[in-house]
């Protein structure tokens, strides 16, 4: 045994174990996110069972999705206020998502396994996704369309319900269009008039010019207000017709409730559909998640604005970081005298990659937002003051901060690429009489392009996952508008944006109903992880191809 220890075999196994453990954790983490993330969209069954109260013997019906089941020592359950008979040491408890938050107060509830009856999955149960108050689970009584009563045993019941949902969604879209586009435009024009007026005041315009302008403003205002009223009445009409269709439901506690279709996003009967239908439903939900905006303080609905914000920010960042990073790398590698100073600069630049990102955020907030942004406002947006335009966190500053943060990544990668190009190629070009700049731009840089691409992709991957600095310089939990739209100048650098990473933080930690938000956070995390892994794999693939290429070139 002693000899065995001395040979070192156990220690080799120990190192191997460390690696195996790391691998298990990495894969376990990714699988956890994948399973929970992908699982979020699967329409789960709605269980029905009877809970017996131990004191009164009273029996209540519970209806809901089973979120999870766990084994806990009886003491833990007792601490949580649940009654566990003496003599039982280990109990099972089940977390039901019973929905109906507006009626029950809480949409999640724990029940001990031993108080539960047999589970059944009644086929008539409907799961209704609502715009407010989360999901609703219950039994349909009848459907009311245009005052006509359609019973559940009517064969048209299901189709008509679906039709009502579709109609309501259609109305919803029209309402949104009017609210966002038309009313948004009128209020923006009103604001523009106000700004113009204020600008005239600031410039000190007086006399007939001012009177004429004021008359014009008044005319425009009246016009816009009339337009607004018209839109308003149109909206009211739409709202009214949206509320026309009703669904009458019964809850597990026998109470009845009427839900207007204006509040319904989706109606499913999860216990009564085929696997195929579930798959269709699954992809429908995935689609909705990726293309729709959030609802209910971000805990439901989709994450489209967050994806859009992340991508826009990263694109703007790339536009800024690429030229500067590449030029700086070329300077350091090709032009700067390779001495101690250059070495110090190089090491410092490399080390900046290891400086905490929050430091960049602090710098961005202080220097970009308050100093640069404040001055820009003073110079160009004086009419809008005191409400700041650029003197407040926004897309541009977020991108700029991230550009600074990822600059070292691009520089390091580009320099590596430049260093890898054999000197013979350079010398060949110079020997043929090319100037240094010709050699550089026509020979060296094109050969190093893949390295630059690698650097850029790595920078993008880092930027997409960074959250801490963004919390300071421009990311918000809910942005009313996208940073790019049809309004001149189409890309709005001063707007605040939503971001996938911040969305995870916000929904997971700042939302009032964490339990309800949890699956959505997993799904968001999965989106972000996939995005970043794909980006990184691309970068790795490019780098490997590049290495191969030069290995053969230089031989």
């Amino acid at each position: 045994m002693k000899a065995w220890f001395r040979s070192g075999t156990p220690w080799i196994w120990l190192t191997g174990g460390a690696l195996a453990l790391s691998l298990v954790m990495v894969i376990g983490l990714l699988s956890l996110i994948a399973v929970r993330g992908f699982g979020h969209f699967w329409p789960s069954l709605v269980a029905e069972t009877v809970v017996t109260n131990h004191d009164t013997g009273e029996q209540t019906l519970v209806l809901g999705e089973i979120t999870r089941t766990e084994q806990v020592p009886a003491a833990v359950a007792r601490d949580a206020g649940q009654f566990v008979p003496e003599g039982i040491e280990l109990v099972e408890r089940v977390l039901f998502k019973r929905g109906n938050r507006d009626q029950f107060g809480q949409d999640f509830v724990w029940h001990l396994g031993l108080t539960l009856d047999e589970m059944s999955f009644p086929p008539e149960v409907l799961a209704i996704e609502r715009r407010e108050w989360g999901n609703f689970y219950g039994y349909p009584i009848y459907l009311e369309i245009d005052g006509e009563r359609i019973e559940t045993d009517d064969p048209r019941f299901r189709d008509l319900t679906q039709a009502a949902v579709d109609r309501s969604l259609d109305y919803r879209q029209r309402i949104r269009r009017i609210e966002r586009t038309d009313i948004g435009r009128t209020s923006r024009e009103l604001e523009n008039i106000r700004l113009e007026e204020r600008g005239m005041q600031l410039r000190g315009v007086t006399g007939p010019d001012l009177e004429e302008a004021q008359e014009r403003f008044a005319r425009q205002r009246a016009l816009l207000e009339a337009e607004f009223l018209e839109l308003r009445s149109e909206l009211d009409a739409l709202y009214a017709s949206q509320r026309r269709d009703l669904l009458h439901m019964r809850m597990s506690d026998e109470r009845e409730l009427t839900i207007g279709f204006d509040n319904i996003v989706r109606v499913t009967s999860p216990n009564d559909i085929t696997v195929l239908a579930k798959i269709v439903e699954y992809f429908d939900r995935v689609g909705e998640f990726l293309t729709e905006g959030p609802r209910e303080a971000n805990t439901e609905g989709g994450i489209f604005p967050a994806i859009f914000g992340t991508v826009t920010m990263v694109l703007v960042m790339s536009i800024m970081v690429t030229p500067f990073g590449v030029l700086a790398a070329i300077y350091l590698r090709e032009y700067a005298k390779q001495g101690t100073v250059t070495r110090i600069i190089r090491v410092s630049v490399y080390n900046l990659a290891g400086v905490p990102s929050i430091v960049f955020g602090v710098f961005g907030l202080g220097f970009f937002v308050y100093f640069l942004g404040g001055n820009i406002d003073q110079l160009f947006y004086q009419a809008a003051l005191p409400s700041p335009t650029f003197g407040t966190p926004g897309l541009f500053w977020a991108s700029l901060t991230l550009a600074l943060l990822t600059l070292p990544v691009v520089i390091v990668s580009t320099e590596e690429g430049l260093a890898r190009i054999p000197t013979t190629i350079r010398q060949g070009s110079l020997a043929l009489g090319a100037t240094k700049s010709e050699t550089l731009w026509k020979v060296v840089v094109p050969l190093a392009t893949p390295a630059m691409m690698t650097g850029l992709i790595l920078a993008i991957a880092r930027a997409a996952g960074e959250v801490a600095p963004l919390m300071l310089v421009g990311v918000v939990k809910l942005a009313p508008t996208l940073p790019i739209d049809g309004e001149f100048p189409f890309i709005h650098l001063e707007r605040k944006i939503m971001h996938l990473g911040f969305h995870i933080y916000d929904v997971g930690f700042q939302s009032p109903n964490v339990e309800a938000a949890r699956p959505l956070v997993y799904a968001t995390a999965l989106t972000l992880v996939l995005l970043i892994i794909v980006l990184n794999l691309t970068a790795i693939a490019i780098r490997n191809r590049l290495r191969e290429k030069y290995r053969s070139d230089s031989d």
Partner: protein, 767 residues
């Protein structure tokens, strides 16, 4: 290219050169040269620009932090003699209003005059209601922010008043109209029922609950009398009646000559200073049985005494120029005693006037030699001592926004100064040493940057945050270092090349995993999981290495045929199922362990034995942040081990050493700088990590290394507090300081690591 080709061909075909003529060539040459220059300058400019902008980060952070350590400045604006003062009048008190336009002074004969500081003209005059045949014998004022004053009269009564300002904006310009208010009635109120003249007076208005006023007076026949007044408004008539609750305080030791009386805002304590340099502390919380609790000696005669804002701390100035801060400290028996908390830089002459700042724990003093001193309580800083006059300063006033100071000399000359005193709260000592804060029983390290109350004493000790940062990084490294380093050694030296090609990128890709995801999993999944499976966590920590070695031992007994089927370098793969099984086993058995050994709940058991347990604690952070750091350490360490020249290891093996002996004897010593730099960079990353600690700890700034409690780190603190601070304020700049500290620390760590790594590269190439 074309040029050189045509140059070669030209000799054979003479007739016409295909070359452009010399003028064009010269033009082209100069154009190429120009392009070359442009490229050079353009690239250099961009390069410099980038380097400069990166340097700017450091410069800017530094620039934002510097003002915090600057002292105060006082620039004289104008000087004039106090308007309308008469020969026989003395100024009792001088004030400056919020907009710094008006000064106000109270004379010893109950006159109030408001004057414009910029012109020296009188704006308004008032006289308090002193009855015929009676004269004012003493004066006192409450807290500055309440602008409350009272005069003691020669018949044992007092009159009280408050000055106030009406703001109006005629022609869009601000106009301030002073006025007098009488919350406790305009008529005199009896303080001493014996009708003796009040020689010394103390007054305080309580703003908590119903408006009350406490007055304490020292009468000519050497008694201390006190009254607490409350008002009642008649619902029908609107008339205000004042109710008084009077008491006589215990007698002072005989021969005592009181000089001033202070009453705290809760009307619970009375402090009497005397000529012998003593302070007598009375507990009057029960006015029916007031007690003389304590008499403390200051040393030399007390010439100035006042509360700091909040009426908790007393600043005492003496005849010999000493300044000290005192407040009531509660001991173990819940008894309060007056303790000297700190001293300030002494003045060279007697302190003749003293005024606290309105919203901070700072104060200004004037001394008998004409020197103004600006001091700050919490940080014990003396921000300025400046001689402004040649004669004693009898009055000093500062505005509410701390930007203007008025001084009054013995010959009634007023001087107005512009004051810059933005960041007195911070000194090196206040940031890094224990500080005795108001209401605490001993000096402590506390980070508590803001509160709802205006009178709040900001507590800016960076120690809790630094300790929190180190604690988080320590536990993260404890978890990540063994896994990262051992895993790296195994990958680089034992693992088969084919597996290595898969394993290394897999772990490295985790480096790019957004930390917000790790933080979210740590906070929402790992923290509750650990709380519910504590025995599993510990048995995995202890048992996992044992299981690995156990499997190694068992492997020796596996039949040789089977053993030879699996090539060397697959140990890790063999271990994976065992690790999974053991982990599953521990989790499954966890509830049974809890039932068997911990009365059913280990978490409860920990609490019962006196260990605080937070759900989001250092253990969770250690695992989550360790997870974030493992790829960093692993990647660098693996490179270092892998690049150890092969001839070294082969030589060692050829000499008969086992593989492990080669690792320990040859590989590790050679690669140790690389491993060191891997650890350094990992540590740097752990120190600066924000999202994980933000989400996986309770963010409570505590000073301990308990693994079951949370912490607040520098970086998380910035993320939490920076969006909500006032731009340019002290708190804002301290957060910049925290960022600067983080920047410098991580930069140093990374630089050391980088230098070590470069050395190593050189060494490898020379081996």
């Amino acid at each position: 290219m074309t040029e050189s080709l045509s140059a070669q061909e030209s000799p054979s075909k003479r007739p016409e050169s295909l070359l452009p003529d010399s003028k064009t060539r010269a033009k082209r040459r100069s154009r190429r040269k120009l392009r070359d220059r442009i490229s050079f300058w353009g690239v250099s400019a961009a390069g410099f620009g980038v380097v400069f902008s990166l340097a700017l980060i450091f410069i800017y952070l530094f620039y934002e932090v510097i003002p915090v350590f600057k002292g105060a400045t006082l620039d004289e604006q104008r000087r004039f003699s106090l308007p309308a003062i008469e020969q026989n009048q003395q100024v009792e008190r001088l004030w400056l209003e919020r907009y710094q336009e008006l000064g106000v002074y109270y004379t010893n004969d109950a006159q109030v005059r408001f004057f414009e500081v910029d012109t020296g003209a009188i704006r308004s005059e008032f006289e308090l209601n002193v009855p015929e045949g009676v004269s004012a014998t003493s004066f006192a004022n409450g807290e500055d922010i309440g602008r409350f004053v009272a005069y003691g009269l020669s018949d044992g009564q007092i009159v009280s008043a408050r000055h106030a300002y009406d703001l109006s904006f005629p022609d869009d310009r601000r106009f301030i109209q002073p006025k007098m208010e009488f919350p406790f009635g305009e008529d005199p109120i009896i303080l001493d029922e014996d009708g003796q003249p009040i020689q010394i007076l103390g007054v305080q208005a309580s703003t908590r609950g119903t408006p009350r006023m406490g007055v304490a007076g020292y009468t000519r026949d050497e008694r201390l009398v006190m009254a607490v007044l409350a008002t009642q408004t008649n619902m029908m008539t609107g008339a205000v009646t004042v109710q008084a609750n009077r008491a006589t305080l215990p007698a002072l030791p005989s021969g005592t000559n009181p000089t001033s009386i202070l009453i705290d805002k809760n009307l619970r304590s009375v402090f009497v200073a005397d000529e012998q340099g003593r302070v007598h502390y009375f507990d009057v919380s029960n006015l029916n049985s007031p007690r003389l609790v304590q008499t403390v000696s200051v040393g030399s005669p007390i010439t100035a005494m006042d509360f700091l804002v909040g009426s908790v701390s007393i600043i005492i100035g003496t005849e010999s120029g000493e300044l000290s801060q005192w407040f009531l400290v509660r001991d173990d028996q819940n008894q309060y005693t007056l303790e000297k908390v700190r001293e300030f830089t002494a003045h060279s002459a007697a302190i003749t006037s003293l005024t606290p700042e309105y919203t901070r724990k700072g104060f200004l003093v004037g001394d008998a030699s004409g020197v103004v001193g600006i001091h700050y309580g919490t940080s014990a800083r003396t921000l300025l001592q400046k001689s402004v006059q040649s004669e004693p300063i009898t009055g000093i006033a500062v505005s509410q926004i701390n930007q203007r100071v008025l001084t009054l000399s013995a010959s009634n000359e007023v001087a107005a100064f512009e004051l810059w005193n933005r960041h007195p709260q911070i000194s090196f000592r206040a940031l890094w040493n224990k500080v005795w804060y108001e209401g605490r029983s001993s000096p402590e390290y506390i980070w508590q940057s803001s509160s709802a109350s205006d009178e709040f004493e900001s507590k800016f000790s960076l120690i809790p945050l630094t300790v929190g940062t180190l604690k988080a990084a320590f536990f993260a490294m404890l978890f990540a270092m063994p896994l990262g380093l051992l895993g790296a050694i195994y990958t680089a030296y034992f693992l088969t090349p084919k597996l290595r090609g898969v394993v290394k990128p897999t772990i490295e890709i985790m480096e790019a995993l957004p930390t917000v995801i790790l933080g979210f999993l740590a906070g929402l999944w790992l923290a509750p999981f650990m709380e519910n499976h504590l025995p599993a966590v510990f048995s995995i920590l202890v048992g996992m290495p044992l299981i690995m070695i156990g499997v190694a031992a068992l492997w020796g007994y596996v039949p040789k045929g089977l053993r030879n089927q699996i090539p060397i370098g697959w140990e890790a793969v063999i271990l994976i199922p065992f690790i999974l099984f053991f982990g599953w086993l521990c989790v499954t058995l966890s509830p049974f362990v809890e039932i068997a050994f911990f009365d059913g709940s280990m978490r409860q058991w920990l609490t019962d034995v006196g260990i605080t347990y937070d759900q989001r604690n250092a253990m969770v952070v250690g695992v989550a942040m360790g997870f974030a750091v493992i790829p960093t350490i692993y990647s660098i360490a693996e490179d270092a081990v892998f690049n150890v020249p092969k001839h070294l290891t082969q030589g060692s093996l050829a000499l008969g050493a086992t593989a492990w002996q080669t690792v320990v004897g040859v590989v590790l010593p050679t690669a140790s700088p690389g491993l060191f730099s891997a650890v350094m960079i990992g540590f740097g990353r752990a120190i600066g990590e924000t999202m994980i600690v933000l989400m996986a700890t309770g963010n409570s700034p505590i000073v301990n290394f308990n693994i079951f409690e949370g912490m607040r780190t520098l970086s998380a603190n910035i993320a939490v507090e920076l969006p909500e601070t006032a731009v340019g304020g002290t708190h804002f700049r301290i957060l910049f300081l925290a960022a600067l500290v983080l920047f410098i620390v991580t930069f140093i760590f990374n630089t050391i690591a980088e230098v070590v790594r470069q050395r190593l590269r050189l060494r490898y190439s020379s081996l």
